[in-house]
């Protein structure tokens, strides 16, 4: 019996060590673009600092409590000896009890100071920061730049090194805009406006995701933030402000454009064309799909959920256009039963909308 127990404990130690090493390597090798541990801006950095502060305090308490339990299990364990003394019947100890009431209270009071100041400093925006309006839809984010007059979707482009104010609302249900590297979460509430300040120190691409359950395809409602050097950002703005070229017969894009206008895509999607007669056929407040004027300038589509890893952009776009609800359950973009040829034509035209 004793021997088997010994063997068991050796086995446990072996398995435990292996598991520990394996888990360390798992942590090491994984590249996690959504991690909260690599803040890229001052807001997220502040949150990270607060987390680690509490983490270490909690770790001390954890070690004390678990340590006490482990020690007691060894020291005070009843080993089944009949002559073992009965324990002293202690009903309490006032000084000790006061101590473990007051000390935690003091620790918490200390934690509360940086907490409260961070709450006030990190909520809302500075009044002079650049505004980007964020509108949540089932299941994609729309971005509108009021000062620049730009409408885009899925990828939010910002200049690095300056504070951006996301002015957010929702068109349907609650959503929650979260770019872990830049800041914590903030809801998008229909009928209300919420603010979230975002700032990236350096240019870079940051992953995000709608964090509030928002219906069938919640998990596919993702986001990207692309931070650029201010000069690159200016160039991007100038590009985005340009209208799209209206294809004319004979151009390779023309067939795809015809599919777009004739198959009903245009009921929901806007494209601003350089020929005014074709622009804004549908008024902005009536459409409910992303603006496609600069579709091809975005690296991702379908709520930033496509293309998937290892999938080419065109293959993903083909999959998406062939049967949107099959990719994104509940999708408001219906399956229009397009033919292979129509899809290929559309891809050619969409690819020209840079």
């Amino acid at each position: 019996m004793a021997r088997s127990r010994h063997r068991l404990s050796r086995l446990t130690a072996l398995v435990g060590t292996t598991a520990f090493l394996a888990s360390c390597s798992l942590i090491e090798i994984q590249d996690a673009p959504m991690t909260t541990f690599e803040p890229a801006g001052p807001n997220a950095e502040r949150l990270d600092g607060l987390f680690w502060m509490v983490f270490w305090i909690a770790t001390v308490v954890f070690v004390l409590v678990i340590g006490a339990i482990v020690v007691m299990l060894f020291v005070f364990r009843d080993r089944g000896k009949n002559d073992a003394e009965e324990p002293k019947q202690i009903h309490g100890h006032t000084r000790l009890e006061v101590a473990w009431t007051v000390i935690p209270a003091l620790i918490l009071a200390a934690i509360s100071v940086p907490t409260v100041s961070a709450v006030f400093e990190l909520t809302g925006c500075d009044s002079d920061s650049m505004k980007v309006e964020v509108v949540g839809h089932q299941w994609w984010f729309e971005y509108h730049y009021p000062a620049q007059g730009i409408d885009t979707a899925n990828v939010m482009v910002i200049p690095a090194g300056q504070e951006i104010c996301a002015v957010m609302t929702s068109d349907d249900v609650l959503h929650n805009f979260w770019i872990p590297a830049l800041h914590g979460k903030r809801y998008l509430v229909p009928g209300q406006v919420t603010l979230l300040r975002l700032e990236s120190y350096e240019p870079g691409e940051f992953w995000g995701q709608c964090a509030e359950f928002c219906g069938l395809s919640h998990s596919l409602m993702r986001a990207r933030v692309l931070a650029m050097e201010p000069s690159d950002f200016e160039a991007w703005v100038a590009d985005q402000q340009k209208p799209a070229a209206l294809p004319v017969e004979g151009m390779p894009e023309y067939d795809g454009y015809q599919v777009f206008t004739n198959k009903g895509c245009i009921q929901c999607h806007t494209v601003r064309f350089d020929d005014d007669s074709a622009s804004n056929i549908i008024q902005r407040e009536d459409f409910n799909g992303p603006d496609l004027t600069h579709f091809a300038s975005r690296t991702v589509f379908a709520g930033a959920s496509l293309p998937e890893e290892g999938e080419s952009y065109d293959a993903a776009l083909k999959k998406w256009l062939a049967d949107p609800p099959n990719v994104k359950p509940g999708s408001f973009m219906p399956n229009l039963a397009l033919t292979e040829q129509e899809i290929d034509d559309l891809i050619v035209w969409l690819g020209s909308n840079k």
Binding site: D31, D48, I69, L73, A84, I90, E97, T101, F213, S305
Partner: protein, 674 residues
């Protein structure tokens, strides 16, 4: 069915009088039988909720997996949480309270035995009603703000098990307007809202019953501060239920009105406010958290002293800390909404209020450690679960403090970090506590002992499986895995740990299988427990096992906290426990009196009416869901008539029939039955 004696026909039906067989259970008003029924029902729902969790875990074990459809996934996580909270932990706690409160305070039953049966039957029918959504409910694609409908691919899109999607899929929190009439059309969320309404009614009725019982039915000398901690925690829970259930009842009615009659309380298109729903929901939902954990804390506070062979350290501090948690629990609800855009003042206030909860919680943990310190720790299965409870609950409590640091919570909220936290509290806490209780009081129920080898196997499997499942979730959440996510991209790097988590979930499932085998095997073949098998401290052990139908042969008179212990033990000069010379004789007397009451004991008679009345509710509520049809309207009327008939019958029926049989005969009858 065996009718033992002709009874006078005082009301609509002839009074039921079966002492065994199915009718004895259907008509019983005995708190012990009701507790057992609560227990089995709760455990069945635990199995169902667990299977739902396993399906979820299979889906998540792989990035971009297509095991479940999105609809099925959303339905399963909604029903997993709803089931575990409302149909497992709450009724499981109710099972312990029902069975134990009268025994622990030296009473023969609760204050209102028929009302107690009513609670149980309402709960039971409510659970059936809620789960009937899988048969009758519908769940379809949302309708957008412009009236256009979303589209579902054939078979619901990629994945399988789409038949499961036709059940509530708006989350157990049913955030509006997603769970409202436009974005969750179909009847599934109506089943959810009305099902919880019925179940809430059961909790409300039993809360009143327990409060009256505890304040009025205590044995002579059982002052409030001589009550076992479990009874105290039950008192706090009863008050929490009493004040929080009406809030969720109002909120659920508002949702039902939004969905059925177009009131749009929570829909912005009608001038409604979706955030109002969150305030109402969490104003109930946070006290609910303490409703789920306090009974387990009570159980642990009973188990630890017995197996440490010491009194509970700082009894009154533990009691008052429990009450303080109850009070504070009503003032922290908005910490569930720290990212919802509430003002910084509100965020700071609710953050600080949340921190204060850590103080009474800490007091409890430290007092439990103080109880074990210097004791003679007998590491039986219940003790293992109780110690496991302290360790796991400590982790859950500490991760809770990180949420109180509001800005830190902006990163953690709605991620798997929260999933980890809540499972450390509700599984590592509540469920471990409940298992400690099941092993501890099994002899009370059956007169047998559970197999301790199997019990320890169960504990270690569950303890290891639990940590493999839930510890990595902290990491996953901090690595950016959001909650309620049907799919995640492989690039997120979340897959390896999700595989580990899924393996852990199956280890937990295995441990539950071991428990079930142990339970049913020990009930038949377990070792005879005899009287007072654990050398316990509280009153329920001062009577024979299994508990006689009348509980106490003679009503006890209490002179101390842990009265039963002090009947057996004195203290020497050093303060060490010394077994009294005549302890064995005292126990033999207690056993004799327990089995042979010196005087006839009159117990409340069984009744059909609680069952009948409870049956009226689901009928009415089915009618509300289908109120636009003729048969729906008819169901409302029929349900109301059934309930009303039962009310009249109930009112005309005396609690106890005139006593015409000697008690010995009744005792024999019971023995024959059990």
């Amino acid at each position: 069915m065996t009718v033992t004696a002709e009874r006078p026909r005082t009301t609509i039906f002839k009074r039921p009088s079966s002492a065994y067989g199915i009718w004895s259970w259907l008509t019983t008003v005995d708190h012990k039988k009701i507790g057992i029924m609560y227990g089995y029902a709760a455990f069945s729902f635990f199995i169902i909720g667990g299977l739902e969790a396993l399906l979820l875990r299979v889906q998540l074990a792989q990035a971009n997996a297509e095991f479940l459809t999105a609809g099925a996934y959303n339905a399963l996580f909604t029903m997993h949480a709803t089931t575990m909270i409302f149909l497992f932990i709450m009724p499981a706690s109710a099972a312990f309270m029902n069975y134990l409160i009268p025994l622990m305070i030296g009473a023969r039953d609760v204050a209102f035995p028929r009302l107690n049966a009513l609670s149980w039957w309402i709960f039971f029918f409510g659970g059936i009603f809620l789960y009937s959504t899988f048969v009758f409910g519908t769940s379809v694609a949302p309708v957008g703000p412009d009236g256009i409908s979303g589209n579902l691919a054939a078979g619901g899109g990629p994945g399988s098990f789409n038949w499961l999607a036709a059940s509530p899929d708006g989350g157990w929190f049913a955030y509006q307007p997603n769970a409202g009439p436009f974005y969750s059309p179909g009847t599934a969320m109506d089943y959810w809202a009305l099902g919880l309404q019925i179940i809430g009614l059961a909790s409300l009725v039993s809360a009143v019953n327990f409060i009256v019982t505890i304040f009025n039915m205590r044995a002579k000398g059982m002052r409030l501060l001589r009550m076992p901690v479990f009874v105290w925690m039950s008192t706090v829970v009863a008050f929490l239920l009493l004040f929080s259930i009406p809030i969720i009842a109002v909120a659920l009615f508002m949702v039902t009105f939004d969905r059925q009659f177009g009131t749009l309380f929570f829909a912005p298109v009608g001038g409604g406010d979706p955030i109002l729903w969150q305030h109402l929901f969490w104003l109930f939902g946070h006290p609910e958290v303490y409703i789920l954990i306090l009974p387990a804390m009570g159980i642990v506070s009973e188990v630890l002293p017995v197996f440490s062979r010491k009194p509970l350290f700082g009894y009154s501090a533990v009691v008052f800390a429990g009450a303080a948690i109850g009070f504070l629990g009503f003032g922290v609800w908005a910490h569930h909404m720290l990212a919802s855009g509430i003002t910084p003042v509100a965020q700071a206030a609710f953050g600080l209020a949340t921190m204060t909860i850590a103080i009474p919680t800490g007091i409890k943990i430290f007092n439990w450690l103080g109880t074990m310190w210097g004791g003679r720790l007998r590491m039986t299965t219940p003790m293992l679960f109780a110690v496991g409870f302290i360790a796991m609950f400590t982790i859950g409590g500490l991760s809770g403090v990180t949420h109180a640091v509001v800005p830190s919570d902006w990163q953690q909220t709605d991620t798997y970090y929260i999933v980890a936290h809540l499972h450390y509290v509700l599984f590592g806490g509540s469920v471990f506590g409940l298992f400690a209780g099941l092993y501890y009081w099994f002899p009370k129920l059956t007169g047998k002992m559970m197999n301790s080898k199997l019990g320890k196997t169960h504990f270690w499997l569950m303890f290891i499986g639990f940590n493999i499942t839930f510890a990595p979730m902290h990491w996953l959440g901090l690595q950016g895995m959001v909650r309620r996510t049907w799919k995640y991209a492989p690039e997120t790097g979340l897959e390896p740990w999700n595989v580990v988590v899924t393996i852990g979930a199956f280890i937990i499932a295995l441990s539950v299988a071991v428990f079930m085998y142990n339970w049913f095997h020990s009930r038949r073949h377990g070792v005879d427990s005899g009287f007072d098998p654990w050398d316990a401290r509280t009153l329920e052990w001062a009577i024979p096992n299994p508990t006689p139908e009348y509980n106490f042969g003679v009503s006890p008179v209490i002179s101390k906290l842990d009265h039963f212990w002090h009947l057996k033990y004195d203290q020497d000069d050093e303060g060490r426990a010394v077994r009294k010379d005549d302890a064995d004789q005292i126990i033999a007397e207690l056993e004799h009196v327990g089995l042979n009451p010196p005087e006839p004991i009159h117990l409340p008679n069984p009744s059909y009416f609680p069952l009948l009345m409870a049956a009226g509710f689901p009928l009415m509520f089915y009618g509300i869901i289908y109120h636009t049809t003729a048969w729906g309207k008819a169901l409302i009327v029929i349900g109301a008539m059934v309930a009303l008939t039962a009310v009249i019958g109930w009112a005309m029926e005396p609690v106890e029939e005139p006593h015409d049989e000697p008690s010995e005969e009744r005792a024999e009858e019971v023995e024959a039955g059990v």
